[in-house]
Symmetry: C2
Subunit: 210 residues, 2 copies
DNA sequence: TATATACGAAACTCGCTAGTTTCGGATATA
DNA sequence: TATATCCGAAACTAGCGAGTTTCGTATATA
């Protein structure tokens, strides 16, 4: 088995790489990224945050850029499982049920990470791809699924522009965090749902919830 | 008059500073900023773009950060004059009239500049202030003014959430450029107006314009 | 004319950071 | 046990860029 060690031969002498450190290093990368931005982040900061040696990082990722791409790509979607969506029977109920403290907190953290890599994205197509998959695609898919269910049950007419409607919530939250630099509160989300998204889809407000 | 030259005494010997170079240098700064982002931009790039010496820049601004702050603060609002708004008689007409190629082009360029300084904003309150005044405030004020006029003429009820509605267009365009990295087309703007903003304000679509 | 400042261009310094190497020690194979 | 790889820590290298200085020249005051 050791005749030709050209490719990845798992049987090697020496201490094994501690695989539990990978997610810890990636988590530290995201933390520093959110606080300092891509250019403000140094590899030493990440190593210190993860209580790891810099050599350990460079043994696993060939460059700072690859480390960041991997960190963004492996980002967890906290509580956003597209298979396990709320089902309250009404579109408004489903959208409101999506507003959970943990989910909002995570979304805001992600937007700070996004702010840290926005300027980098235009020069790294690979980062642009993983960023889209990490930040844009999951939320859009979930909102689209909730709206589609409302269409299926006859609550919303398919005549409406569903794609644009599904983009409203992500766009408004991103704008609020990145441009207005205000926190995303529950009241703000409810206001967007009741005053923008539901009217756009032709859903009449419940008489007592205005 | 030269008895005490403690403060800015305009009567000084020597060649006068060429004041026409200030706006040229600031324009070059914005160009490089949009292309490279704050950290990717070097002072040498700006000097070369403006065909100026680096010493000339440092004679006028004490640091790269101050130069960028000044460039953003002095940014022109191409065609967005809050005193000279379209008045077509209907909110939809006014909003559609705001979609001019020159204005959209300028808005997209501004968003690329914004992308270049987003990560810097969280660490420079001064930059955050001028960025808000340059990017956020003007557009919000115009949309708010158009909506307010619609309220005044009885087209829109003041019961609606006007603030949130005024934020929809800036938020959707920013999201489209910064996150989706797609161009802002006229069709997109019309879709946002007809399918999101007007429904949010309770304006019924004209029967033949759907 | 003598002096002081501005100009563009280019050389220079100095600190910071990506990436490498070295070290003592730990853990694996053979 | 001998060897090879891992670990964290720290020293090291090399390049880049912010900010300064220098140079030859142009333009202002006195």
């Amino acid at each position: 088995m050791t005749l030709l060690g050209l490719t990845a031969d798992p049987v090697r002498p020496g201490r094994k790489r501690d695989l539990t450190r990978d997610p810890e290093i990636l988590a530290a990368t995201l933390e520093v990224l959110a606080e300092e931005g891509y250019d403000g982040m140094t590899v030493d900061m990440v190593a210190a945050r993860a209580k790891a040696g810099k050599a350990t990082l460079y043994r696993r990722w060939p460059s700072k850029a690859e480390l960041v791409i991997d960190a963004v790509a492996c980002m967890k979607n906290a509580g956003l499982d597209p298979e396990n969506l709320p089902d309250t029977g009404s579109l408004r109920g489903d959208l409101i049920a999506m507003i959970k403290p943990h989910s909002m907190e995570d979304g805001e953290r992600k937007l700070h990470i996004m702010a840290g890599i926005v300027s980098m994205i235009s020069r790294s197509p690979e980062l642009a791809t993983v960023a889209h998959q990490a930040f844009v695609a999951p939320r859009a898919a979930i909102t689209r699924a909730l709206i589609q269910r409302a269409v299926d049950r006859g609550e919303v007419s398919a005549e409406h522009d569903l794609e644009t409607a599904a983009m409203v919530a992500p766009a408004m939250t991103a704008y609020r965090v990145l441009m207005l630099r205000q926190p995303v509160t529950r009241d703000f989300m409810v206001s967007v749902i009741d005053n923008v998204i539901l009217p756009a889809l032709g859903v009449k407000p419940a008489p007592s919830s205005a």
